[in-house]
Chain length 110, copies 2
DNA sequence: TTTTTTGGAAACCGTATGGTTTCATTTATA
DNA sequence: TATAAATGAAACCATACGGTTTCCAAAAAA
């Protein structure tokens, strides 16, 4: 739970965190409200939220004794753009296997 | 290195694997050629490639003593679509913080 | 002013992750 | 045929990950 390579891609790799993102995208919630959506313990959820804050996908505001969590998903643009780089792979009529078989073998010497 | 929750999101969470995807998207390569692009050992690269195959992003073909690796990135469509769900967060003129402050507090009781 | 509510923090735990080195095997090549 | 090339596989290793329980502190509500 240290601050290591905490980038967006790593943050969204966990399904629980993607669920939390889905929750907070619709409305901000305090920690306990978020935890109520899961069977795991509150501290576990808190750790996920911390990871999301470490890469900026979630921002936290303390109001009195409550910690309000809000989504700030501008960081997902990076993910979208990276994935879209490879759109041809699911748009093309040409399948990946065909592309491979058609490939010039001299390309393989890099 | 077992086959656990090997989904696409987890597979692309590692920067080395994203680099491998970038390499193989342009041309298929055998294992050693892939490993040449990195400072880490060949077995380490091989393990990354195995993870990529476990979720279908890479397909492997054995030709003689060589293992040719090809990208099959249709699985990234899922990632693109998931991220695009939240496009509003980076398209809107309305910033996330403003949206939060404007929010009806009664929304927070879910 | 007690008592809840809300959440932070610490200590732990088992397993996954990302890497290494070493060795064996198969296939080309000299 | 002897040698080199390309991998697979196994055994390790340190640390990160995802979770738990327990306890403490602060703020709100009775």
């Amino acid at each position: 739970m240290n601050q290591t390579r905490r980038d967006v891609f790593q943050a969204i790799s966990d399904p629980t965190r993607r669920e939390i993102i889905g929750l907070l995208a619709r409305h901000s919630l305090n920690l306990n409200k978020v935890a109520d959506h899961f069977t795991m313990s509150r501290p576990a959820v808190a750790k996920h939220i911390r990871i999301l804050t470490e890469c900026g996908l979630v921002v936290v505001q303390t109001r009195g004794r409550e910690t309000f969590c809000q989504a700030d998903l501008k960081g997902l643009k990076q993910v979208s753009e990276w994935a879209n780089t490879y759109q041809e792979f699911w748009n093309d009529k040409l399948d990946a296997l065909e592309r491979f078989l058609d490939e010039d073998p001299s390309d393989e010497n890099l």
